[in-house]
């Protein structure tokens, strides 16, 4: 098999994941796109390991070992990422990454809303905001803002 086939497929998958990371708005869809990029890298590692294990006399199978490590790290990454997304959703009532602008600088109309507290616009703007969001708001603005900054 030509090495160009898996290499081209890996490049295409990587760029598909790149498009997904840049164009998606839901945080979980962004995580799916990150998984696509990691899988493209895994395909490259496996293909080059099979090629090198034929040409080199002594090989460490480093490509396949690194693929296993990448898979394990991707599993850990998806767990941590989903925990962060759930924590953000619990505080804000949304998982829309375009609305998480508390640490952004220099945008005009969002500026006065920033010091009012992050749950001011989101409590009204989050149409799908559950009741637990309101109960978090009634507990006090300070822990929500503190945790929002910690997760951001």
């Amino acid at each position: 098999m030509h090495l160009a086939y898996p290499a081209v497929l890996a490049a295409l998958l990587f760029c598909t994941g790149l498009y997904g990371v840049l164009a998606r708005r839901n945080a979980i869809l962004v995580l799916m796109s990150v998984e696509l990029m990691l899988n493209a890298v895994n395909l490259n590692l496996v293909a080059f390991d099979v090629w090198l294990s034929r040409t080199a006399a002594e090989t460490l199978h480093s490509g396949q070992a690194l693929t296993l490590f990448t898979i394990a790290i991707a599993a850990a990454e998806i767990g941590i990422g989903l925990a962060i997304v759930l924590a953000v959703y619990r505080n804000r009532g949304t998982s829309d990454i375009d609305k998480l602008r508390d640490t952004a600088e220099g945008h005009g109309p969002e500026g006065p809303d920033g010091p009012d507290g992050p749950d001011g616009p989101d409590g009204s703007g989050g149409s799908g905001g559950p009741d637990s969001d309101n109960s978090d708001d009634s507990d006090g603005d300070a822990p929500a803002a503190e945790k929002a900054e910690a997760t951001a």
Partner: protein, 224 residues
């Protein structure tokens, strides 16, 4: 060497190459649907097709252990985690019009430009490189296990520590926020169980876990 490599032309593909090409087309198409569909659950289900297609590609590259690990970890657990994440964030069933953000065309430009550059470089570099797939499998379980436990033992053990850290971190991140918000859970437990048992069960781990180590105290915080 050049003669032996130019014997394998692009115009006369072998059977493995044809199978790789067909499965690759399915994989790439499923990946495209994953990043463009407006139904969030369908994106996760098309991701299953993509990851399964990649497992078949690993099998065609004679890396069987990686293929089954891919099926177990990605298709089995990562997609299930993603579906649970979609469920817990109350993702809408059906078409959601705001799945794509406003910078779609900029993202498309960047992706197409990087794809063109990467494919040009890769094809130009590895045009004549041939993988010999005959003989014993390069990625059989025996070969992978021998190399993993002879040459890669220390990173393997370090990876277990990293997985433990990720597990504890996920628990800490996803627990409830404060102990002050505990009265609703106490009431709900009072409905289900006995209410005098609740403070008893809350006092008991504190008295028991006071002389233990730091991880136990972190777990106790998680319980509270």
């Amino acid at each position: 060497m050049n003669l032996a490599q130019e014997a394998h032309g692009f115009l006369s593909p072998t059977g493995v190459e044809i199978a790789f090409l067909l499965v690759g087309l399915v994989t790439f198409g499923a990946a495209l649907v994953t990043v463009t569909t407006r139904q969030l659950v369908h994106a996760a289900l098309w991701l299953v097709v993509t990851l399964g297609g990649l497992a078949v590609e690993y099998l065609l590259l004679t890396a069987e252990f990686i293929a089954w690990v891919q099926v177990l970890i990605y298709v089995g657990s990562v997609v299930v985690l993603l579906l649970f994440g979609l469920m817990l964030t109350k993702a809408p069933i059906g078409r959601s019009p705001d799945a794509d953000s406003g910078n779609r065309w900029a993202a498309l430009t960047v992706a197409v430009a990087s794809a063109g550059a990467l494919i040009w470089v890769v094809v130009d570099a590895f045009r004549a490189t041939w993988i010999n797939l005959d003989g014993p499998a390069a990625g059989s379980t025996e070969a992978t296990g021998a190399s993993l436990f002879q040459n890669w033992v220390l990173p393997f053990e370090a990876l277990s520590v990293l997985l433990l850290a990720a597990l504890v971190g996920a628990i800490v991140l996803s627990r409830k926020t404060k102990a002050e918000s505990s009265p609703p859970p106490v009431n709900s437990r009072a409905v289900s169980g006995g209410s005098p048992f609740v403070p008893d069960s809350r006092n008991h781990p504190i008295g028991r876990k006071a002389p233990t180590s730091g991880t136990e105290s972190a777990e106790q915080e998680g319980a509270r």
